[in-house]
């Protein structure tokens, strides 16, 4: 079992498979969070932390792992945005300076503030700036004329919130920059690049205070995120600025409302759905036939996996338990579902232009 990054302590076949599934899910979570972050400049911490907690990873492992992976991913993502022309030095530099200051002031407060009040505080900030961002789009503010003071204030509040909760930097900084009149592409690119330094300052402070880091969570997050980075950055480049600004405003207001009032399960379900829609939207832009071929491939993969499950079940080597009274139903049910997915896969990969 040495190759596994997770160690459940369960030295059984079932434990091995569950650890492997958790590692793969961590990669998927990293992919989803980073796709969101690289395309609209926010959401990595907000998506990954609750999903990792749902997988049963304790917060003391999840938060530092997310911050460290965020530092590395933002560096790569920021470089891709820089190459794509989405970064401006006069926007990124003040963000970094005031963001680091905010983080240094925010991290020590984590140990004094209760979680409930912190979430309500972040939720209200997000709702306010989401509303301001939408107002700017509605009023038709001329993008490209910056207000330096607004950029500094955005950086400080973003860094402060990031220091307190481990998330929220992207949402506050991106929408703050939009309110300051920065073009949506530049706002996303500069936020991501500045987040590298701001997250690093948070990681250093947390690692000094906690002295612990779990590579078993960090590495799969990094692998999944690395795959999503170029796809997300290209999505930003190909979206119209005004539409992107409005989308960011709506997403931030929803995140704020969820953070302040809604239970965490609902928040996770909502974020998974929004991320799925965004990914599908991206592939729709790539072209419908290609989307169908990709989905056909996934369908074939799922079909093969289901047939493997049937085989494991028949040979008595399955990692799950099926009650004897449901065995026949389960067998024929899985055979039918597997056949449907294999047929869907063949139809998908044979689609014509």
């Amino acid at each position: 079992m040495g190759f596994l990054l997770f160690k459940s302590g369960e030295a059984t076949y079932r434990g091995l498979v569950l650890d492997l599934i958790r590692t793969i899910l961590c990669m998927l979570i990293g992919f989803m969070g980073q796709y969101f972050d690289a395309s609209i400049g926010m959401g990595y911490g907000t998506i990954t932390v609750p999903l990792l907690l749902l997988l049963g990873i304790p917060p003391t492992y999840a938060v530092p792992a997310v911050l460290l992976s965020e530092t590395v991913l933002c560096f790569f993502s920021g470089s891709v945005h820089h190459t794509a022309g989405n970064v401006q030095r006069k926007v990124a530099l003040p963000l970094i300076l005031t963001g680091v200051l905010g983080t240094v002031l925010g991290v020590p407060l984590t140990f004094f503030l209760p979680d409930r009040e912190t979430n309500a505080f972040i939720g209200i900030i997000l709702m306010t700036i989401g509303f301001l961002s939408l107002l700017n789009v509605a009023r038709g503010i001329k993008m490209g004329e910056h207000s330096p003071n607004k950029i500094r204030v955005s950086g400080f509040f973003a860094g402060f919130t990031n220091g307190i909760s481990g998330g929220g930097y992207g949402a506050i900084s991106t929408t703050g920059l939009l309110s300051a009149g920065v073009d949506a592409h530049i706002a996303v690119g500069s936020t991501i690049l500045s987040e590298t330094v701001v997250s690093l300052s948070g990681v250093l402070l947390y690692s000094y205070l906690l002295r612990e880091l779990n590579w078993g969570v960090t590495l799969p997050l990094l692998i999944g995120g690395a795959v999503a980075t170029p796809i997300g950055a290209l999505t930003t480049r190909s979206s119209p600025s005004r539409k992107l600004g409005a989308a960011i405003g709506v997403v931030v207001m929803s995140l704020g409302a969820s953070s302040a009032y809604v239970r965490s399960e609902a928040l996770v379900l909502g974020l998974v759905s929004v991320a799925l829609v965004l990914i599908i939207y991206h592939f729709k832009m790539v072209g419908y036939p290609r989307l169908r071929v990709a989905m056909g491939g996934v369908n074939l993969g799922i079909g093969a996996f289901i047939i493997w499950l049937v085989y494991l079940n028949r040979t008595g080597a399955a990692f799950f338990y099926v009650p004897p009274q449901l065995a026949q139903l389960f067998f024929w049910g899985l055979i039918s579902v597997g056949a449907i997915f294999v047929t869907a896969g063949i139809l998908g990969i044979s689609v014509r232009e």
Partner: protein, 75 residues
């Protein structure tokens, strides 16, 4: 014609499977009808199983809807 028939049949089946799986996610997560003990799922692993079923269900739903969309475009 054969492809059109297959597309609508497979699409409808996938939509039904997806909807049932999303429903089952809630049954599993909130342990309705004692399903966790029926399938001998440890309480600490229940959210993991629920997440897997949810992802599978959402994908099935999206894939099924795209097949139905393909069938409608033939009409």
């Amino acid at each position: 014609m054969i492809r059109k028939t297959f597309a609508v049949a497979v699409g409808t089946a996938q939509v039904v499977i997806g909807a049932l799986l999303i429903l089952f996610t809630y049954v599993l997560y909130y342990d309705l009808f004692n399903v966790q003990s029926m399938f001998r799922i440890p309480i600490e692993n229940a959210p993991l199983y629920a997440l897997l079923v949810l992802i599978f269900g959402l994908f099935s739903l999206v894939s099924g809807l795209s097949f139905i969309q393909e069938w409608r475009s033939y009409l």
